[in-house]
Structure formats: C-alpha cells, structure tokens
C-alpha cells in the first residue's frame, strides 16, 4: 500500500485553504519527494479554479499555476507529487469526474468541507484506471 506523509503544519495550512474557499471547490498542488511507494509532501500551493460555471462541484486547475508550481519544485530539487482539492458538503472520496480526469503516479488528496469547516482528508492514487486509497501519515 502506498503512503503519503503530510505534516501537522501542512495539514493546518490545507484546512485553512479548504475552509477559505467554501462553498466553492478549492484546489492546489502538492510538492515533495517520492521514493517507491512512499510520498512525502513538503510544500503545498493554492491554485485558481477556472471552472466558474460549476465552481461548487467542479474544479479546473489553472495550468499557469501548475506551471509555476512545477518550476518552483524543480528549482528546489523536488517534484509535483500530487493535487489537492475540496469536496464542499461531500465526503473525501473521488467522484467519477475525478477518476476520469486523474493522472497516474500522482496522489490525489481530497478534503471534505462541511458548512465551511474542513474535515476528513483522504488520499487516493490511480491504479489501472481505478482509485486506490493511500495511507495518510502521520
């Protein structure tokens, strides 16, 4: 089973970003290092959601924000290891839309935000076109 480590500081940062975007979906980039099945997130960024028509239940991460995150990661000797996004008033489980748009070898961290309060956080990775949950550490 693969795992994703996210420090308490980054979890708090993620919760603040997730709550701040409510009732709309928020998204961003996970930067860190991967070693075999273990991924360590060392930094996360906030990205713009370009989907203004269905911002409450869809996200379309601005590619310019992704490019900036990629540049930042490479300059630090790191790489983009995944994407985070929120599910306002829905569980932290990937939807069919998430699955259809997912890329392999990235972690997909989902934050459930209920009534504006960030709650459950779960991480998923695509495996043969299906999402498999990762162990979230610590």
């Amino acid at each position: 089973m693969s795992s994703l480590s996210l420090s308490p500081t980054l979890r708090a940062e993620l919760a603040a970003l997730a709550s701040g975007g409510y009732p709309y979906e928020s998204c961003g980039v996970l930067i860190g290092q991967r070693a075999a099945e273990r991924t360590a997130v060392t930094e996360l960024t906030h990205a713009r959601n370009r989907n203004s028509e269905r911002a409450a239940d869809r996200f379309d991460l601005d590619p310019e924000d992704l490019m900036r995150a990629d540049r930042r990661a490479r300059e630090a000797g790191l790489e983009i290891v995944g994407i985070w996004h929120t599910h306002p008033d829905h569980p932290a489980c990937p939807s069919e839309t998430d699955r259809q748009n997912a890329w392999p070898d990235w972690s997909y961290l989902i934050v459930s935000v209920n009534d504006g309060v960030a709650g459950e956080v779960r991480s998923w990775r695509l495996n043969c076109e299906h999402f498999v949950e990762e162990e979230l550490e610590p």
């Binding site: 379309d60 310019e64 994407i83 829905h90 839309t97 748009n101 989902i110």
Partner: protein
C-alpha cells in the same frame, strides 16, 4: 538549431524512461516534437495527436508563455529555451 530543455511532468515520465527533463536540438516547437519522436515516440504520442497538434489534456509552455499565445506549434525556439509540458488537471465531487 537551438539546444533546448523539454520538461516532462511526473505522469508522463514513464514514457521517457523516467526522465524529468530531456535535452534536444530543435528550431521550433513542431520540430522539437519531431526530434522527440525519434527518441521517445510513445511520449510524443501522449502529447500530440496523430495530426501533430497538442492533445486537449496537455498544455505546452515556452518559458512562462502558453504556446497558444505565441505562434502555436510554429513558435521558434531560442538557444537554451525551456519547454514545459503541463497536464490539464480537473475533477470535482
């Protein structure tokens, strides 16, 4: 001919023997992918359609500019240019 860096995102590195970046010689974006075809044809096919246009789920940047805002596939490449392939990322619950 310019020597340029092609930056590959993590999800596509499996098509480039795990490389994060390739150094290639080319004079335009279109030429760059023609050269890439010779070295990593599977990677080229992930990025471009058989007709040689960018697939809808990737974006191609020259430095900080999307090539769509430049001259598209005909965009010339200066020496030491950095070309980035950026995946389209979307979803929602």
């Amino acid at each position: 001919m310019s020597r340029v860096a092609l930056r590959i995102p993590t999800p596509l590195r499996r098509f480039a023997d795990g490389a994060a970046e390739l150094e290639l010689e080319a004079n335009s974006i279109r030429h760059l992918f023609e050269v890439l075809q010779q070295h990593h044809p599977e990677l080229r096919d992930q990025i471009l359609t058989p007709e040689g246009e960018p697939r809808h789920f990737v974006n191609i940047y020259l430095e900080s500019d999307n090539i769509n805002t430049l001259q598209g596939m005909a965009t010339p490449l200066p020496e030491a240019a950095v070309v980035s392939v950026i995946p389209a990322v979307a979803g929602g619950g």
